[in-house]
Structures are given as structure tokens and as C-alpha cells.
Symmetry: D2
Subunit: 365 residues, 4 copies
Amino acid sequence: MAGNSFGDLFRITTFGESHGAAIGVILDGCPSNITIDEAFIQSELDKRRPGQSKITTQRKESDTAQLLSGVFEGKSTGTPIAIVIPNEDQRSKDYSHISDKFRPSHADYTYQMKYGIRDYRGGGRSSARETAARVAAGAIAKLFLKQQGIEIFAHVSGVGSITSPNLDTADLARLLELREDNIVRCADPATATEMITYIDGIRKAGDTVGGRISTVIRNLPVGLGEPVFDKLHADLAKAMMGINAVHGFEYGSGFEGSKYKGSEHNDIFSKEGTKTITRTNYSGGIQGGISNGMDVTFNVAFKPVATIMRDQPTLNEAGEETVISGKGRHDPCVVPRAVIIVEAMAALVIADHLLKYNAYLNVKK
Amino acid sequence: MAGNSFGDLFRITTFGESHGAAIGVILDGCPSNITIDEAFIQSELDKRRPGQSKITTQRKESDTAQLLSGVFEGKSTGTPIAIVIPNEDQRSKDYSHISDKFRPSHADYTYQMKYGIRDYRGGGRSSARETAARVAAGAIAKLFLKQQGIEIFAHVSGVGSITSPNLDTADLARLLELREDNIVRCADPATATEMITYIDGIRKAGDTVGGRISTVIRNLPVGLGEPVFDKLHADLAKAMMGINAVHGFEYGSGFEGSKYKGSEHNDIFSKEGTKTITRTNYSGGIQGGISNGMDVTFNVAFKPVATIMRDQPTLNEAGEETVISGKGRHDPCVVPRAVIIVEAMAALVIADHLLKYNAYLNVKK
Amino acid sequence: MAGNSFGDLFRITTFGESHGAAIGVILDGCPSNITIDEAFIQSELDKRRPGQSKITTQRKESDTAQLLSGVFEGKSTGTPIAIVIPNEDQRSKDYSHISDKFRPSHADYTYQMKYGIRDYRGGGRSSARETAARVAAGAIAKLFLKQQGIEIFAHVSGVGSITSPNLDTADLARLLELREDNIVRCADPATATEMITYIDGIRKAGDTVGGRISTVIRNLPVGLGEPVFDKLHADLAKAMMGINAVHGFEYGSGFEGSKYKGSEHNDIFSKEGTKTITRTNYSGGIQGGISNGMDVTFNVAFKPVATIMRDQPTLNEAGEETVISGKGRHDPCVVPRAVIIVEAMAALVIADHLLKYNAYLNVKK
Amino acid sequence: MAGNSFGDLFRITTFGESHGAAIGVILDGCPSNITIDEAFIQSELDKRRPGQSKITTQRKESDTAQLLSGVFEGKSTGTPIAIVIPNEDQRSKDYSHISDKFRPSHADYTYQMKYGIRDYRGGGRSSARETAARVAAGAIAKLFLKQQGIEIFAHVSGVGSITSPNLDTADLARLLELREDNIVRCADPATATEMITYIDGIRKAGDTVGGRISTVIRNLPVGLGEPVFDKLHADLAKAMMGINAVHGFEYGSGFEGSKYKGSEHNDIFSKEGTKTITRTNYSGGIQGGISNGMDVTFNVAFKPVATIMRDQPTLNEAGEETVISGKGRHDPCVVPRAVIIVEAMAALVIADHLLKYNAYLNVKK
């Protein structure tokens, strides 16, 4: 209820502040006997890690995951998996200049008003640093889903006004290679180059810019998602909107689809061998809130990062006008790192719904 | 977990199929001693009711709410409020032609695959008829919120490619009057006229079209919403995405905001008398997932209704190709009625978060 | 959170006051394609029904269950099953003499203080009448469990100081026949006779008496129950303690077991053919919170009914001393009817845990 | 759902195995600005700690709590409080002799069957070592409740057949001193001496014995507890039954009360100054599931510890008969340490219900 848990059967609870001792997560409900590949968990964290390229924040964190429980001889035991990621490069003194000032479009003001106290260092609990815990747990969700044959792929499809063309998504493994070939994580090389140049300019100007991420989930069984409130896309929406800086979510035809006519938009059922498919996929792989076996597709919009390297007017805790200077380390554009967070949250949603789906498979009738 | 409940402290559970005996809802957690104005509940249901104008389905339902519990001498008692809405105009025979066919872009196929059985009459549980239950419970949420001084207003801001200009939202009561002055429920009269003409043409062509709804929530205390997964906008997103036909959600600057620079997008804090405000509101009244006292604003995108009055190819349960004819009653555009559903779900989210917020107000420190 | 729901995957939410229009329940999460035998549901309600014998309250209620949703052509559809039971013999005027008085050991005082309002007629929401809703939903749980081969049997093992000898539980169907052969629902005929005579005397004296119910659950798979908080016996305890008038719960060796030595109490594992058993069953079929395949056994203690046919001193809402007279209809001893409630709640707990158990069965490893 | 969380608004999730790297807990929903007295947390852990006296297990653990988050400058911030307690004296080799054998009346068999894998060292997740995490979180709950004026006191009221006389509970602080004056934690000195002598003999004989713990909770507001399933005593029952080795729970008059007549058992309301009291307290401070302002009282029964220093026949994982030897460290009687666990779980239940109660206090009416 206090909002730091996500999922029902496959459930995570995260903790930790940006500049406290550590951040971390408990994953409860992971099936037993899943091979827990710690190197994979670490490789996922490395993709979210700060300081990985010139277009991300330069904070230095190794983001080393320590597994404290729930794994025995390399396998999950079915008991809670606790992961702790110590904070290393805390440099708390960087934040003394904002200890009593409310940074614009940050959570300083709302946290102070809600709790009457806040760890002002680097945003404390509201910092996107917390998402490392989600990535670690999401990596385990991915390991679980991979065993079930399910694939998840996200990439940066927009930065500012630069938009990636639609991709041929037939070979997700190949797209993943293309994505990891560049620091902005766009799977279209030409667009990636353009985006990087643009972000680099934004960074040099001390400014930031927003972006979009597009995702494909493949090989879901028909039947994931629960009517009427826990529709698969409703849970994906909640998961995505819970990521820092996200301002929009759409699946299938999305906002553009609201301009269509029904005669243009309906997905016609057809047979492809023994498999039931739809000829188009405006439904984004979900009908009535339930996966229909087609690719699940959705887009997520991120606002520009609020921390900019410029002076801005603001208020302090006493309600007085003041100026806040642009100091500290920051990301000029959050989407290259957020790709991994989007994939992690998607994996957590799917893992949870897959277990709910399984709950009804063995019933004798 | 089976997905028919929404909310934690202020929680609804709905039941019922389109063509069963009745639909309904249990509202658990409503505060006691709230005046339960049954006429208001009915007036809200009337706004969602089918057959209310030429641009809605012609199904005849009085949608009469029966309160079975939780109200004593006109006041809520704090115990569960059960509301039953009998189905009247069931006309089940209308649906015999689709009993074993999967309607395109409907939930027939996914329900059949998930459950191995379905009430095929009018979509059964997947029918938007279920939302009447949400409107009834949402009406009680509105009565509760009104006592706390909170206002919620939604209207149709888009139909197909027709878009309402931005409204001056200073006087929400006046906008509500303007909205209710026309059958499409757009608060801009000129745009409303254009929309109605367009929808009427769509209807005559046996087709359907999508649309958008925009919402404003006013007078929230600072502090509603829980980090990090139960952000206020994340719960609003889940609530909206759970409404039939919704394909997209954005709050504040939304998808457009992802094209902005931080220097353009940051909302600068300022004082307006003793009140802390932001000069702009790209944050949509929510920072770090928590309400900041400014208007909460969001948009919802609806796909075109899948039921069209045309023949379409499809598959039957045996997997054979067949043709489905366009019969039965349908809405050419769902947004005029969905305005009330959006408001209802918004009211339910806010009522739930308000109680969570209250839980921490009386702690002695 | 407001406390009117029970279970996670197999979940009920009840509503209704003793003297309102109706009571009822929504069952969400029932598997699809379960045959819903309405006659069985009614027969269960009949066993809980008032007025069934001289040792129960004489309130006249047919307790007719109306299924409003979730069942299509006699089968569950996987969507919420709503059941409404209208109140018939409301006789509200019987309660005018207590409208502002707090009956001793009832919930009048606590409800008034908690909610600031209460439906004083017959206890309103705190009346045991609400348990009819649980029995109706529990009947469906029983139908589901029967298909999975699971049996549940409860009987009255104590009334006041009269105690049933330990039964041979090898043939639960036979015990059920014996139980239903007498109005006190004790499966030992001689003890039953003694109990009936005793209760009849209590009734004539305008008094009431407490009692105990013993339960056996058979044929559970090994593995039901979740460490560490949702142990199978912890959820059974919560379910039983939630029944009106229950003051105690014990499983396996229970309170008596706390006097034993470990060397006396340990259950030694052994083989019976290919099946693993324990030679004794002090563990009550549960080890580490998880079913071990042996019979699950537990006892429940009920206090004497608080409504007695005598004058008692008390306070009114103004805090003044007054006298309350013993009027209205009441049960001299609640356990003969509560047997069905205990079985219903046990069935709901097991159904819920069985689905949770199933969720992990199909994981590919 | 996987069972490692407890509470709704004030919610803990624990992790860790007996012989893994660490155990720990995340407490989510703790109000902000509570003074977090780390010395108090440690003193509570010290009371549960192994090796504290001759009648407890000799495992050496400092049980040092490390707070990783949620506390800033000595105050809670309202964000999740993570506590890690490293395992020090793991001595895993002690357990090689049981790696493939099922210890009688332990959870070895059920965990192996449920999960197909288990950390066999010292019981892994099923070890009572996990309760240290509950005690740490419970200590914070106590700090919170103390600020609200609420007291919780438990002591050992029974060991084997030795029973403490009823205590005068007027001065709980004095009883706490008396309790801490002896190693068995019985507040009646004469009984304590008898218990200690008895347990010491049991220990020397390589055996174990069960016991009972009695609890008083004082100064609750009227109104804690939710009808109908989340009754205050139902949640206390679940909390207590979730403690390792607990086989029974009763509140107020308990099992003995089931032998009473209503005319003997009813608690008559009366005035004590301006306060409403009941002249007797068979209701155990709870009526209709809701606190009535009187002391909440309950008893918990613990079975004898299953680990005994004797050879016992059993089965191994292959289903073959074998013998298990009594090695390792163990408690001859668990109740002296369990007193702190009972208090911790009681504090967690009350803290959670207090927040739920608060949620409705500020509603404008």
C-alpha cells in the first residue's frame, strides 16, 4: 500500500535512497529451480549503470549485486531472493546547496510536504537510482521467462523530435545486437547516429531532452491478463508509468489509433498453419485485456530530465524565492539507460501474469 | 487477483455479464456518514446509459441502481455498499449468429482460449456494459470527494481527427454545463457540432471511429500518491487503461512533452499569496508520483468500436474461415458515454489515495 | 483492507446487513468449467438456515440463493459469481428497544464508536446472518475441491462441558451421515443426544452456551501453504477466527500439545506402500506451514451467544445506565449451525491455496 | 502471495535462510518522523538472540541489525526501512548428516516436495532464525506505538504442565521488570524458578518441551479491527500462528469460554469516570472484531521443539528408511525467546490496524 511493491504472485519490493548505504530488492514468488545466472544479472545492471558513455551521467557506480538469499547452489529455492546493491560514489556534499531548496520539476517539494522530512541528497528515494533494484529483479524475471520461451525487446524509438522508422521485428536477437552497437540504444543505426549527435549537443548546452521507447514481447501464450481491471495492458501501463520521468503509455495502435475508423482498425483473424493469427496487429497482441498470441507492442514517453546545468528560480522550504544552480551529475537524456528498466518492468509484469495464468491450468474438470 | 477488483482502501469489485440477470458492484471501504444521494447516482448512470441520443447504441436499458446494503437512513454506514443493476433489454437471440464465431478485435477469441467457455451474448463479461457498475460506485466516490472539496471534470477532446482547442479551465462548473449542452460531451460548442456531424455520418456508413477524452482534477491536497510503484499517475493510468477500448494514457505534457528540452519543460515554483504553485504545469499536477496541489491533467485515447455494420471475414471456434455480419446495436463512437466512465474511475483512484494519505495524518510525533 | 474480502486467487467479498434488503457475495477467481450445482448450494444454505430445529433461532428465512453472474449453461465461466440472498423475515420493529442501547458482548458499542452510525437492527453487519453468504460461496469451493478429490468434514465435538469422544475418521462419508442424523450435528450419536438435552434446557432457561467444532480435511496434495506468514494453518486460523463468536483455534496437537515433550510429540515418517506417511499426526497434517499429505485437523472454540432472554444492565448511546431486556429470536447454542460455516471457510482457504500451489506446477525447468 | 509479507499499510517482507549470507526485512509504510532508536532495536534482538542463557540454543550470533534505508538523521523518512542481519556462526558442516534425510516434525519433507530443492542447512527458510527479522521490524512498530501511548506485554505463562497463576496486570512496566529478571521470561518469580529447573532437566535429557505465552495490549483506541474477515483477533491469530512451532491461539475467554453460559460470560458495560468499560473482560478487549478500549488479551501455544538429541527413525529423499541422529544446537524450550517474537508480531498487527483506523479519521463529514 505504501507503494514500494509491484506484482502479486511474482512480486518485488524495493528499498533504498540515492545516497544511503545501499539500494536493493526482495523478489518473492520466483519459481524454484530456475538457474540464477549472476553474470546475466550483472550484465543487465551494467546496461543501466551510470557512467557507461558520454551521453549518460558520470556518477561512478559499479552497481554490484549481492544475492543474500533464495538461491542455493545456483538455483532458486522458491524462497525470497534478496539483492543488495551498495552505493559507492555517494559524494553527498554535492547536494548541500539544495538541502532546503525545491528543484523545479523534481520530487523535492512533494516529498517534503508529504513526509515532513526527506533525504535531500540526490533525490533520496525519488532518484532513478532506485530502478537499479528493478533491473536486478527484472533480470531474474527474464531468466524465468527465457525458460518459458518468451522474448522481450525494447529500444529507443525517439529522442526529442528525432524518430526511428518502423523496424522489421522478425528477428529480435538481431535487433538486440544492433541496439547494443550504439550508446543511445536505438536499433536503427542511422537514427542512432543522429540521436547521439543531438544528445551530445544538448549535453554541451547544459540542457536535457525527452524521448520514447518502443517494446515488443513475443511468444506469450494466449490467455495472459485478467478482466476487467487487471488487463494485461493496464498492468503494463502501471508498470511503465511507475518509471521515473515517464509521462505516457500506449499499446497497439495507441493515440494514433484513436483517429481511425473501425473498418480500418479491426484485426482480421486468420490461420497461419495451425496457429491463429490476426492479419494486422492494431490490437497490440491484446484483446479484451488478454494476450492473443500476437506480439505485444507498446510505446513509452519520457519527459526531459529535470536536472539542467543552468540557474533556475525556485522556492526554499521557508517559501522564499531563491535561485538554484545547475550542479552535480546528470543525464542529458534518460532513454538510453531506461531501455533496460522498461524491459525489466515488462518482464516483471509478464512473469506475474504467467503465474496467474498457470494457477488455472491444472484444475481437474 | 482475478482482476475484478480495483483500489485498496476504497475498493470496488464488479460482477455481471452483458446478457445475464444483472450487473453490479460492491464498494468496500467507503467512509461512514457520507450522504448517499441516490438521485445523483442515477443521474450519473443516465449519462452513461445506452440509447440516450442518436449517436449512441439504441439498446434500451433504464440502468436502475438498487442499493442492497451499506446505507442506513440515507447515510453510508462504513460497511460494504452493494449495488445491483438488472439487465432488461437482453435480446439474447440477436447474438445467436456469433455464438461460435470470433468477432474481429473483440475479446471472443481470447476469452474462449483462456476459459474454455464464454457467455457469447453481447460480449458477456468483456462488454462495456460492465462499466455501468463502475459508474455507480464512482458516483459514490464523487459524493465523498465533493465533501472534501475535490472536483473532477472530463470531456471529449477528440473524435477521429477533430480536436477540441485548449479550454480555459478556470470554471469547471461552467465547462460541465457546456459539456452537457451537447450529445457528444465536448465542452467547446463549435467543436461539438463538428464532432456530432462527423459521428452521425460514420454511423450512417455502418462504421465507427475512435476519440480522446481530457480530464482535470482540482483541489487535491499536496501529498496524494505513493512512491515508487503506486505513483498517482501510475494508478490513474491503470484505471484508464482498464476501460474498454482504451489504447493510450498520458498526463501533464504527455507524449508531446517527450520532444521538449528540460529548459523548456521545467515547472518553476512560485508563490500565489500563501499558496505554492508552479508557473507552468507540464508536470500535470504530479511530481515524483505525488500531487503537488496544481490541477491534475491527463488524456485518454480510445480505439474505434470493433462492432461495425459490415461483413467481415473471421474464424469460428473450429478454426474454419467464415464471415461475420454486422448486426445488433452498437455505438458509432464510444467517447460521449465514456466521459462518465473516465470521471468515475478517476474518482475511485483519488478516493483510494485520499484514504491512504489520511492514514498518516493523525500519527502523533 | 476494509475487511469484507477473504482469499487471494479464490476470493470472496461479502455484503449485507441482517435487516437490510439482502445479503450476498461475489466470488472472484473460481476456475471455469466447474459444474455449479445450485441444488447443492441450496442444501448447504439449508444446513445453516435459521429455524431448522428447536435448538436454533426461530427466525424464518428461506435463504434462497440467486446466482446473478459467472455461470453460463450450468458451468462457471471464470468470471465473478455473484450470489444474492434476499432477507425475508426482517421484523425490524423487534429491534426498536435496542436502537440506542449497547447489548452486552455484542458489537453495538464498537460499531457505533468506529463508524459513528450503525444499522442497529439485529446487529446489522455484525450479525451472523452475513455468514450465509460465506456458506453459499463455500459451497462452490466445495464443488471445486470435490472435483480435485478433496474432502472436508466438520462436526460438533463439544457443547459446554460435554465432549465427544475421539472418532474413527477413516470413513468421512459415514460420519457425515451420522452427523446429519441429529440436530446438534455431532457425529457421535450418544453424545449428540446428551448435547441436545442440555441445549434444550439452556434454551428453556433463556440462556445460551458455547461449544467446539472439530474438522478433518483429507486428500490434500503435499505442498499447500506458503512460508512464512501464509502458513496453511495460519490462514485456517484467520478464517476460523473471523467467524462470529469464535474465541480459539488450534490445529494438530493444539494447546494440549504444548504440554508434551519432543520425544513424545515428533511424528515419525514411514512408508505406506508408495505413500509417505507419518505414524502419528500431532502435526495435524501441516509441517512448516505446508500440507504433508496427512489429514489436516483443527478445532474451533465458540463463546456462548451473547443474546440471552434476561434483563441485563448496560449503557445507552448517551452513556447513561439502563436495562436491556431479552427479546427477539436467538440461538441457544451456535455450533450446530456453525458446522457448515466452518466447512465453508475451510473450503475457501483450501481452494485459494490450491490455486496458489497450481501456479507453480507448470513452470518449465 | 508467496507468503513472506505481513500487514497491509504497515507491511513487512522478510528474507533469508538460516545458513545463507544474511536474513533481513523491508518495512514499508512506517510513518515518517518516528525516532528510530537503533539501540532499542538491538536490545529487542538481544532478547531473541540464541546463546543468551543455559536454556537456549548455544549457536553464537551477535544478530547485529544494519539499517540500509528509510532513516535519515535518526528519523524515519516514510520510505522503506531495510534491515539486514548477517549470519555469522553458520557452521554449515553440522548439517551434512541431514542433507538428504527428513527430520521428523520439521519442514524438510514438505519443502522438498513443494519446491523440489531446499537449503537443508539448519532448516533454511523454515528455521526460526527468520524471526529475528520480524523482531527487528517489530521493534520499530513498538517505537511507533509507544509514541501513540500503546503498550504490549507478553510473558511465558506455561511450560509443559507448569502454569503461571493469573497475574495482576495493572502495572505492565513492573511485570516487564519481573519477566526480565529470569531467563525463562515468566513474570511470576516462583513459577519462573520451577520452569527453569524443569527445562534444565529436559535439556540434560536431550529432550524438548512445549509452552504457552500470554499477552496484554493496552491503550488501544476504540475502533481497531475491520469486519468481517479482518477482525482484530483474526489478524492476531494469523500473526501468531505464523510463528514457528505455534499450534494454538485463543483470545479473551478462549477455549475455556466455550464451556460457559451466556449469562456468565457477557461483559456488562459500565462507566469509570468518563470512560466506558466492561466490568469483566471475557471479550478480551475485542467485540465484533473491533477493539473496545479494554485490554486485549490472548494466549499462544507452542509445540515442543522437534530437534531432539536422540536417534530417531525416518526416511531419506529416496524414500528409504534410515536413522537420524540428534546433533547440532537446539533450544530445549522455545518460549523464553519466543516472547519477543510474540510481542513483535502483536506490535506489527496493531500498527497496521492503527493506520487503517487513522485512514478514516480525517474525513470531512
